[in-house]
Amino acid sequence: MSKLIREILDDSQKKFSDTIAVKWLKKKEIMERNYTDTIAYIRKIRNSITEMGYEKKHFALIGQNSIEWIESYYAIVTGNNVAVPLDAGLPLEDLIELLNRSDSVGVFIGVKLKGYIDEIKKNCPAIEKIWILTEDDIEEADDIVRPLNELIKGDDVNIESNAPKANDTAMIIFTSGTTGKSKGVVITHYNLAENVEAVGFNAESQHTVLSVLPIHHAFCLVMDWFKGFSIGSTLCINDSLLHMIKNIGIFKPKVMLMVPLMIETIYKRLAVASETTPKEVLKEKVLGGNLKVVFTGGAHLDPYYIKEFEDYGVLILEGYGMSECAPVISSNSIEDHKVGSIGRPLPNVKIKISEIGEILVKSTSVMREYYKMPSETNETIVDGWLHTGDKGYLDEDGFLFINGRVKNLIILSNGENVSPEEIEGKLALNPLVGEVVITGEDNGLMARIYPDKEAAERLQMSDTEIESKLRECIDEYNKKQPTYRQITGLYIRKYPFIKNSTRKIKRQEVLIDEPIE
């Protein structure tokens, strides 16, 4: 059996002791910590938590990518507790709901989100401790709110946490569900260990990786961090998406994991600059000069970009995965790849294509369940096969391809999955919204609304007034959402949507039955 994450970490400390494990920016200065020290910090945090009596408890993490976030995460997972990484960009009310639903007893929260603490204390009765992710002292400390440095300073902690077992839960990751309510994917230590082992990227250890994926994603945690640490990489933390391109120049990575939107964004910068600057110069200026390999997944990437990046000496390798598979299912590799494909299934994965063309997965990395959602679990894992919701096929060489979706989920090119029903449900609360369908178009979300004519008549509103009120409704919704979940277009329909016999809107018709003029 594969080594579990804690054993991998212990091995890395021995094997790569003086190698730099993590680099990050503090103000404008590059900071670094080697494997020995990084793992010592992790051990201190986990032993301090253990000393407080916590074992097999759930701890949420909310914050931007940072050294404190990742060390705390490792401490929770390797310390026989369960990590619940949450999207820091979610509205506070959603975070509170997830903290309660995940049964979290503690929260590690980023410094910039300190403003959320009072509401969390008020609305999450199970929360016993809130640690602020900083190595500095804090002003607002009380019985519940504590600085992270308090856990790190615990030199005199002699207790050592029990090692987690293979089938213990390591983390719960929330993912958009097709029914609107997000689902907590329960991933075990065995699931994670098998995925780290099965991804065969061992070729060149001790290379530099710039970690730009959102840190609460399984793809980032497992492939940047667990995999990276297992082979002695130096992981550089991208402090903000605002600085991604600048940080490529600063850290000069050799390898990056990205979602397609990031590749597209970098390409646009290259395309604009290449009108006046030679490619050799841009390779240095925009891509840092060392970038050789980009692994991508989470959404479809147009093969055009793969060809374009080849001109800059960068090999883009597409893969496929989902949180429910912890997360990688298939991947192209440096030695063995095919453009347009999402690669061969990993050695621990079996693929079957269902009668309707859906990709089904059986693997040692398939999650145990959705947290406290037995019926959703039984709908997704049937007879041991995980239903991915994607349609696809295997070609004669064994490469996997995707060619559609079975489930109604919008996959944005930043890899975020958006449930249209969830947004539709929120917009439908406005009395002027008669019918609404959210679609993913041009890399954004479009709201197609058929106004409630009766309500409009009652309020004696003109078409212009209806449009202006609906725009206000969308602006209000957008203000509470992270940028990727904001609605970027509104189309007001003249006619109601076409329905099926059970009065449900026929989603596959909405783009064609009344095209946007």
Binding site: S240, L241, L242, M244, L261, T265, K268, S413, K479, P482
Partner: protein
């Protein structure tokens, strides 16, 4: 500052600078993706030596919104 600010936005959106009016929405009207928009803010940070919070990016919709934040940041120094 306003002119330079609009020139950078125009370069990102690939439109003439005259089209960058205050009421233009970055995503809906100028066609920027969420990450284009983030990168743009990053470039504005470098140009004007200010610091945007990523969390605040979600509340910036129009050119006027961004300009107001920028003015507050530069005046606040």
């Amino acid at each position: 500052m306003e002119q330079k600010f609009k020139e950078i936005i125009a370069q990102y959106a690939k439109v003439p600078v005259e089209e960058i009016t205050d009421d233009k929405k970055f995503r809906e009207d100028l066609g920027l993706t969420s990450l284009d928009f983030m990168s743009l803010l990053g470039e504005l940070e470098d140009e004007f030596d200010v610091e945007f919070e990523e969390e605040n990016a979600a509340t910036v919709f129009t050119v006027a919104d961004a300009l107001e934040i920028m003015k507050n940041l530069t005046e606040g120094e």
